[in-house]
């Protein structure tokens, strides 16, 4: 179902890749159980975790591909200096 929904066409000649993706997917399922076990004690609006297009990636692959932003150290916001218009209002 996952392969169909997210249009995965693994190379049939590369069984190693297929099994690695399968291992990643199974690890994701275990992670979802853990993440949801905390959320279920909260309200109906709490975050839900489950299968999505990233479920066949390892956390390292996900990080390398998608978590690539660099944060600069920026100055603390000071309302008196920057929020004059709000004060006037």
């Amino acid at each position: 179902l996952f392969n169909h929904q997210f249009r995965r066409n693994y190379d049939v000649n590369n069984q190693q890749e297929y099994y690695q993706r399968k291992i990643n997917f199974e690890s994701s399922i275990r992670r979802h159980v853990y993440l949801n076990s905390v959320s279920k004690h909260l309200t109906n609006h709490s975050a839900k975790y489950g299968v999505n297009q990233f479920s066949d990636l390892s956390p390292e692959q996900f990080r390398e591909t998608y978590l690539t932003a660099q944060a600069k150290v920026v100055p603390k916001y000071t309302p008196l200096k920057h929020g004059n218009s709000l004060k006037r209002n």
Binding site: S39, S46, A47, T65, T68, A69, P75
Partner: protein, 214 residues
């Protein structure tokens, strides 16, 4: 402050984008901010070129990563005009920078601000309304598995690694939350959006906040 506010209600937010396997979230977030602020200033909603920022913001690394502050600094210093997405389409990979004549139609940045709002998320709400959508850097490690709902746990603020656009907030329910526009397509999260609890600097949402002025 109004109890809820959403720039989508003002027609100022384009549909969710998909960065595919390109690590250009930093470019998607600031281009989204420029598009929205252009509407806030009375302009029409346009889809601007993310690929232009990926290819031309020379102090960043294109699809290999980058910084929202560095990109805004480049846009501010060079006054490079952002052209439309149709003229410079997204290719999900690094490319050569295409230059356009100064007379070419586009939107340039007048100035920008970058601040840390941790402990001041109410101020951040006021600035969101006054300045327009805010490009922020969050720790999105747990977002790999996110399907929707308000993120209140499992989100540290120690490792900022993903750029997104805060387009609104809602404080009418039990848990007040930020409305966050991501760039991972509509099959991720809640039709491409995430909701993050306000008040605890969840995911480090208030640590690196940038606003653009046109």
């Amino acid at each position: 402050l109004p109890t809820k506010f959403d720039w989508r209600d003002k027609g100022a937010v384009n549909p969710i984008q998909n960065q595919e396997a390109c690590g250009g979230c930093w470019a998607f977030s600031i281009v989204g901010a420029v598009e929205s602020v252009h509407v806030k200033n009375g302009g029409a909603l346009k889809q601007l070129s993310v690929q232009q920022v990926i290819d031309c913001s020379y102090n960043n690394h294109g699809c290999n990563g980058g910084s929202t502050v560095t990109a805004l600094d480049w846009l501010n210093k060079t006054k490079e005009k952002l052209v439309s997405q149709s003229e410079y389409p997204f290719k999900a990979k690094n490319g050569m920078c295409h230059y356009f004549a100064p007379s070419h139609d586009g939107i340039s940045v007048k100035n920008y601000q970058a601040h840390n709002f941790s402990g001041q998320e109410k101020e951040m709400m006021a600035r969101l309304i006054e300045w327009g959508p805010l490009a922020v850097i969050v720790d999105a490690v747990s977002w790999q598995d996110y399907l929707g709902g308000i993120i209140q746990h499992h989100c540290s603020s120690h490792n900022p690694n993903h750029a997104v656009l805060v387009i609104g907030y809602d404080t009418t329910g039990d848990v007040p939350y930020w409305i966050v526009r991501n760039s991972w397509g509509t099959s991720w999260g809640d039709e491409g959006y995430a909701y993050i609890k306000i008040g605890a600097n969840m995911c480090g949402i208030a640590d690196s906040v940038t606003a653009v002025f046109l």
